[in-house]
Symmetry: C2
Subunit: 138 residues, 2 copies
């Protein structure tokens, strides 16, 4: 078991100058988001995607290691993607895959630690001991 400094890592991605036709197709976006989850090494629990008329696509993939979400603005060639992962998987594989599949010519990202274990221990009324990674059973 691995002692953890944070429970999760959360990457917020701005995909600029994407392929507008891809961004407006809910079936294609769902396929790419699910494939991104698989390529990260994640286990998909459930995904939900929705197409907003006349604009973009919103969706979430719940994975046993947290979630991936996307919101697209085809008219601006822009998509906001979140890759929130726990445990021993690599969200950057999903980042790279989506950059390619969305045809994004410019990306920006921010990584935010989620569930910093020293803070969880600090604010808990209990002695939590060592916080370790415990894979979930789906």
């Amino acid at each position: 078991m691995t002692k953890l400094d944070t429970l999760g890592r959360h990457i917020l991605v701005e995909y600029y100058n994407c392929d507008e036709d891809v961004l407006r197709d809910p079936a294609v976006i769902e396929q790419y988001m699910n494939e991104a989850a698989v390529r990260c090494g994640a286990t998909i629990v459930q995904s939900v995607f929705h197409h907003f008329n006349p604009w973009g696509v919103s969706g979430a993939v719940i994975i046993s290691e947290s979630h991936l979400t996307i919101h697209t603005w085809p008219e601006y060639g822009y998509a906001a993607v979140d890759l929130f992962t726990c445990g021993d998987i690599n969200p950057w594989v999903g980042f790279d895959y989506l950059e390619k599949m969305l045809g994004s010519q410019k990306t920006e990202s921010t990584e935010i630690p989620r569930g910093v274990t020293s803070k969880i221990q600090r604010y808990s009324p209990h002695n939590l001991g060592v916080i370790v990674h415990k894979p979930a059973e789906v």
Copy 2:
């Protein structure tokens, strides 16, 4: 129509020292997350929640204004919540509601702008003109 500086606002919340019984109950968490969306003034499109054995709950509420997500670690009294909203709704109402309903004794939050319009314009090959708020039709 309102000229926009950003397409969305994204609040990442750490809820520490929560009610552990609440955090492990998927039906209660789903109810609170949906109610949080409604109280923000959002329109719910679809929600998905999942209970991981023997641990916490993960879920997403897709709203026509983007999404709310949650991941709970009952054994640590900790929940990670995201409130990503577009348009003229107030995610902090949802923040306050969840703080109360999860029984969190300590919160921390980070607000990240998503889709900064000057950057979208900068990286677009097109002249996008003025970027304004356009409510989606669900």
